[in-house]
């Protein structure tokens, strides 16, 4: 899906836990997510802290979308 949407000219950020798979399939902008059962939060920390994690990941994704890349890039921060 990532590749097909990009082929249509729309940049994509792939948020995922298993970064190596994302690199293998050819995503260009990658955000490492928390874990496979809960990529955008952490239920162990409660809803409030989970929401903070989610917001920070989404903001990082929006930043990545606006960043020019020449190669596959993992946005760690």
């Amino acid at each position: 899906m990532v590749k097909e949407i990009e082929r249509a000219g729309i940049p994509v950020v792939h948020m995922c836990t298993v970064v190596p798979i994302s690199l293998t399939i050819g995503a260009n902008r990658i955000i490492p997510a928390v874990g496979i059962p809960y990529p955008l939060g952490d239920p162990n920390l409660g809803e409030e802290k989970s929401k903070k994690i989610r917001r920070s990941l989404v903001e990082r994704a929006l930043k990545a979308l606006q960043t020019e890349v020449t190669d596959q890039t993992v946005f760690e921060n």
Binding site: T17, V18, V19, P20, I21, T24, I25, P32, V34, G35, I36, P37
Partner: protein
Amino acid sequence: MTIRYCFCYKIEYIDRIEIEKEVVILKLELGKIKISDVQFGDKTEVVKGTLYVNKDEIIKLVLEDDRILSANVELARPGESVRIAPVKDVIEPRVKVSGSGAIFPGTINKVKEVGSGRTHALVGATVITCGRIVGFQEGVIDMSGPAAKYTPFSETNNVCIVIEPVEGLETHDYEAAGRMVGLRVAAYIGEAGRNVEPDEIVTYETKPLQEQVKQYPDLPKIGYIHMLQSQGLLHDTYYYGVDAKVMVPTFMYPTEIMDGAIISGNCVAPCDKVTTFHHLNNPVIEDLYKRHGVDLNFIGVVLTNENVFLADKERSSDMTAKLCEFLGLDGVIITEEGYGNPDTDLMMNCRKVSQKGIKVVLITDEFPGRDGKSQSLADATEEGDALVSCGNGNVIINFPPMEKVIGTLDFIETMIGGYEGSLKPDGSIEAELQIIIASTIANGYNKLSAKGY
């Protein structure tokens, strides 16, 4: 004079321990008692190759677990018009006759190292746990018809335990109850083989590293990396009772697995679920032993896991590669359980072990879609240049109706491999091959493969 005496005595004592070590600790004799039929009887016993089981005693044993509301025992033999579903686990009945520990240590028996002495197995018999579904990844076994050939359990004499949980039992508790029921019944039936003279005795032996290397100094040193499913959410494996997701990679003598050191707690896709039967009868270990001292030196097993966090995957594959390097291996075989994100663990292990200068062969199954045109594995690496395929789990097959169903067909359409419309009104099924237990099992205990031309 006295001092000298003491010194001599000590030496003698140490010698004796070393001799004891060599004879007792390292060798497992597996006595295979061939079972060609299963029947109900007044007593659970083996008579001339027929296994008799006492139904009431088994039900009583199962109901000792207060999470189980009711249970039934049904028998399924090769060639019968029987369909078993949803299958949770399959276990070969075994009993520890001599040597340290007891069968399934750390789960139904105390934690104590196993893998030496003598063990008896009722080969050709199994215990199958089935009944109302736990998750959505339990499978189907047909005892006859075109779908039977895809599972090894159409050729065994199966004691099926159909369980019904108490109302409102939480899913993880239900899984645990089902898992323990299977192990306890298998151990109970295994006892019937304790005093039976086996039809065949196979001896397996792996020595401590330095001695093992010295035994066959000219043969390549080969190891086996056994990846245990440990994703959680009903995808778990236990080694001496420890949940594999919280362990770091470790070394195991190959004979330990034959005494039930590893048991399955998995509701993964049925086709490549490594049941407890498959741990007891791991085909990679079996085949490596066949060639042990012939054209290779089988050094042992590295156990690792398949966790759901990237940091865990990195840590476990780092440690796996480090262990292989430390053992001085020339080559390894790696198997995985499940597919999708565990393919990443498989590839990380492949890459990191290869980078240590060790040759790697992978064994896995494939999911390239129903038309076979998509990427077969979720991940790949350049170092993965030698792979044995155990078949394509996405192929659609047809199952004719069976006269008898053990368990229930109520969940066919929500099981992995099933879909809306899979179950027909006459009881026939159209589904992907992956709905069948062990059809593409990724350690080669099946009959499917793929070849490059």
